[in-house]
């Protein structure tokens, strides 16, 4: 699953996610990626999230919306909320990760797997590509 989140110079955020699902899927199985709030979410009041991982768990938790809601209503940082939600995901037996950016432009990732293909760049000159 691939995805992107961004915050532009006007302070607006957006998220996008795209996937082939899992090898050998049957019966029209759909994961979290196209379900708004599960694998993809963007709200200028909080930030944007895109997820990758075991979709059924992301759907049950509503991971992307949950992270944004914790920022908006509890005042947590997006990364702090990401920590909490990925911990909950793991406790349920799920695995995967998220990329997040908040309305102020602070971004990062959280995952509970050995690796996640990921990259970031910012207007401040930061550019990073990582896998493990």
């Amino acid at each position: 699953t691939v995805g992107a989140v961004a915050r532009d110079v006007a302070g607006h955020v957006a998220a996008a996610t795209s996937t082939g699902g899992v090898t050998g899927k049957r019966w029209g199985r759909i994961g979290d990626s196209p379900l708004i709030g599960a694998g993809t979410y963007a709200d200028d009041r909080a930030g944007a999230v895109s997820a990758t991982g075991a979709g059924e768990f992301f759907i049950r938790i509503g991971v992307a919306h949950e992270i944004a809601a914790r920022k908006r209503m509890l005042g947590e940082t997006m990364l702090g909320a990401g920590d909490a939600v990925i911990a909950e995901l793991g406790a349920m037996g799920g695995s995967g990760g998220v990329i997040v950016v908040d309305k102020e432009g602070e971004g990062g990732w959280r995952f509970n797997t050995p690796g996640m293909y990921r990259a970031m760049a910012s207007g401040g000159g930061r550019r990073r590509i990582a896998i493990f």
């Binding site: 992107a4 379900l35 293909y117």
Partner: protein, 170 residues
């Protein structure tokens, strides 16, 4: 900073032992190209939603990642692609599920957002909407790469189902 972009290309059992150097180099190059494409839009004052669509389109074309070309195959050996996009300005959203012919599913999701009153379209109807909207259509073979066929055949030979290998091949 005044703009920020992050991308992902999947997560799972990715270790230095399971990822060969050529695949790692290819994945890193693909990630770099995608994040740079989005960054260029943002640096020029473009919108976040244009940036995320541009970045994901490149990842969909890159066979190193499980989306678009290089997508995982279904049990029957087909491709069924899903995508979503959301704009934080007004929480406008578009998504598609189980589409089979659109080269860039994220752009189809963007059309659902901008050219329909709906949020999520699925299956044959979503394919028809893509044609109606004039989005780039390809034969299903365009999405398939040999490695994905090998992974599917290995799974079927074991008599497994997709959850046996969820995070390895998904």
């Amino acid at each position: 900073s005044d703009w920020t972009i992050l991308i992902h290309g999947g997560a799972g059992v990715i270790t230095r032992e399971t990822l060969d150097p050529a695949a790692e180099a290819g994945a890193r190059a693909g990630l770099g190209a995608a994040v740079d494409a989005g960054a260029a839009i943002l640096a020029a004052g473009g919108s976040a939603i244009d940036a995320v669509e541009a970045a994901v389109r490149l990842l969909e074309d890159d066979p190193h990642f499980n989306a678009g070309r290089g997508a995982a195959l279904t049990y029957d050996g087909a491709v069924e692609l899903d995508a979503a996009i959301m704009d934080g300005r007004d929480r406008a959203a578009g998504a598609v599920a189980g589409v089979t012919r659109t080269r860039h599913p994220v752009s189809l999701a963007r059309q659902v957002l901008g050219a329909s009153p709906h949020v999520l379209l699925g299956g044959a109807g979503a394919d028809a909407f893509a044609r109606e909207q004039g989005l780039d259509q390809v034969e299903p073979e365009w999405f398939e790469i040999p490695e994905r066929r090998r992974q599917l055949e290995a799974m079927r030979a074991r008599g497994g189902d997709h959850f046996d290998i969820d995070m390895k091949y998904g």
